[in-house]
Symmetry: C2
Subunit: 386 residues, 2 copies
């Protein structure tokens, strides 16, 4: 499953998580299915109604608790296969929360009022059961320990993000070269899904094809609207390779082969502003800059051009095993970027009900400056689309 | 999005949920993205790191809180479009939990120590924030109110489940008729995904192709193993139409065109036992029977034939907007089935490391008896596979 991540990486990650947990007097981390679990032991667990939970005490061995049905899948996870964690399973009529509560680190922590940190995406159904079983503990989020660790990517992870970005670049190039006019957004989205996989992703993850007035809605999906000549298309797409995501946005303008149907001066002005703002944000993403500083670089350029109210979202989000994770480039984030952070830079300008535009790249923060993983041209892609 | 569900249904569902909430002295339901939200107002929200929450007070208007980016998508949801709930949005730098806490029903509930019920899949990150902001409330799960309601499907919902089941039947037929021997499980799974959609699903949801010894692992996915002649394949697949799922399992046996490579007596005995057990479970799924009684019907037949230890999971699970939901056919579930319940009947027999088999249908519990939505032949599909 995670062939590119060396097995010893998981032991190192657990050790670092445990060392921080011990420092902060955390009893244990309780990690359900999701990116934290995959990052810690390489197990891509299904989010089931049956409890799967990795219990990581501040000291000693970690234990992965799985329903019996999942034992074969869990054994194949790198961290289990290589003996980094113990595996224990429960039967259909067992109480898995009781099993968790009796594990080393958990019961003792609850007894002395210590902290139990649950993974951020753990379902409320499980959290309430754990709280009811161990009312003496103080509950917090595992991200307090894990998110700074996960936000610093190692070379293997950056390699996967780079491969994903390149596959996304090729997908954009193919869509720009193909027919657009007269097709529905949904039909183009179908092609995007197929091409994301054909170009090397394990799976397609999302496919926004927002044409004409839909381009003014940042999280539009792909509707039955037929794409016309002489209007913008915001294409925001991504897939995953071994869990690591791509996420690219380009704005296209199909003319239908009629040069007279190109973008007007107002749209060119809007797009020129956006292009400068996006480039400036990427360039500002250096070690030591805070998330809000990078956001402000893009935001001030857009505001100076008179589009301040039309940039209605943050400048970017971290990316890794989750499509959106730390660090966020947003007002209020005063944490300085460090080498190994990977994130999007994606300002947008949206004129409600009329049109919009967005440009997005994935950027790695290196000690010698920002490394932009995407290489597809960022300028407005004025294409024939027929 | 949910064209088959009449708009007035959402107002009725909210009203029923509120009426139960009022009876039980619940202050409000706090419903995040997922099946509960879709069932209540027809909104298929993305599970984002930004808070989306439907706040349903025991009396008065419900309010959907969304990040500004999602306003356009939220407006298109049936319950919002038809004015069943109010919509309010928050900006990137706002505190959405504070917004929720100040809504009618929530603040007052927290003040007088009343119950706030959160959706079962709400992320722990949001639940802990709500608990910290409103420490005076007593927290429980929204399923306490919603799961009995959601478990009784109306005719529109059964219609969608039936369409999905029929699309799944056709997919199974196509796979049985095609080449299997010499292909990898993953390659067959790719075909399954494509056919599930081609046969009428909006999307493919899962695709277990478990051949040879892999058939002994109930939740095997689809690996790079090459399928051989003369071995079983457990095919467990499903997709969704307007959110409602199909879920069918059939067991295939490709001979490679060589009659001598058919199943041996031991496997035929195992499969005959399974077929009788599955049919008996479906027949036992009548109004008034409990989940554990239906489970016991299948289990006792399998145990009598000497395979008791090889049936390592429950007999079935409810299905609707979630692939697994109430009612569960499992030991310990003493709740009687009612008309409108929809669930799988899917016993399996697994000889670890060697081989296994499973048969699964979706069944609707009607006042005049069980209605089996799947019609694909249940017997062992001995096919040439070349």
């Amino acid at each position: 499953m995670s062939r590119s991540i060396a097995p010893e990486r998981y032991a190192q990650r657990l050790e670092r998580a445990q060392s921080i947990a011990a420092e902060r007097e955390v009893g244990a981390l309780l990690v359900g299915p999701g990116a934290d679990l995959r990052w810690l032991i390489g197990y891509e667990a299904m989010p089931l109604e049956r409890l799967t939970m990795l219990v990581v005490p501040a000291t000693g061995r970690a234990t992965l608790v799985v329903p019996r049905l999942e034992v074969a899948a869990a054994r194949a996870a790198s961290g289990v296969e290589h003996g980094v964690v113990d595996l224990t399973s429960w039967e259909e009529t067992d109480d898995p929360v009781d099993l968790v509560a009796r594990l080393e680190g958990v019961a003792t922590a609850a007894g002395r009022g210590a902290k139990l940190l649950v993974s951020d995406r753990l379902a409320a159904a499980f959290l309430l059961l754990v709280q009811a079983r161990l009312p003496g503990a103080v509950y917090g989020l595992a991200s307090a320990v894990l998110s700074d660790l996960r936000a610093v990517k190692d070379e293997e992870e950056i390699g996967l993000l780079r491969r994903a970005a390149q596959a996304a670049d090729r997908t954009v190039a193919a869509i720009c070269a193909g027919r657009l006019v007269g097709r529905t957004e949904a039909d183009v989205a179908r092609e995007v899904r197929e091409r994301l996989v054909a170009e090397g992703h394990d799976e397609a993850a999302f496919w926004i094809v927002a044409s004409g007035p839909n381009s003014a809605s940042p999280h539009h999906g792909a509707s039955d609207r037929v794409i016309g000549a002489g209007e913008p298309i915001v294409l925001d797409i991504g897939g995953r390779i071994e869990g690591y995501g791509s996420d690219i946005t380009r704005t296209l303008w199909p003319t239908g082969g009629d040069a007279a149907r190109g973008p007007d001066v107002e749209y060119r002005t809007l797009f020129g502003t956006l292009e400068r703002a996006q480039a400036a944000a990427s360039a500002a993403a250096v070690v030591g800059a805070t998330g809000e500083e990078v956001d402000a670089v893009a935001r001030s350029l857009i505001a100076e051009a008179g589009f301040g109210n039309a940039f209605i979202h943050r400048t970017g989000h971290g990316i890794g095993l989750e499509g959106h994770e730390e660090p966020y480039l947003v007002s209020g984030n005063q944490q300085p970027l460090v080498a190994g952070n990977c994130f999007s830079t994606e300002p947008g300008i949206y004129l409600e009900g009329r049109c919009g535009a967005r440009i997005e790249d994935i950027v790695v923060c290196h000690s010698d400056g920002p490394d932009i993983l995407n290489a597809a041209p960022r300028s407005l892609a004025v294409v024939s689309g027929v």
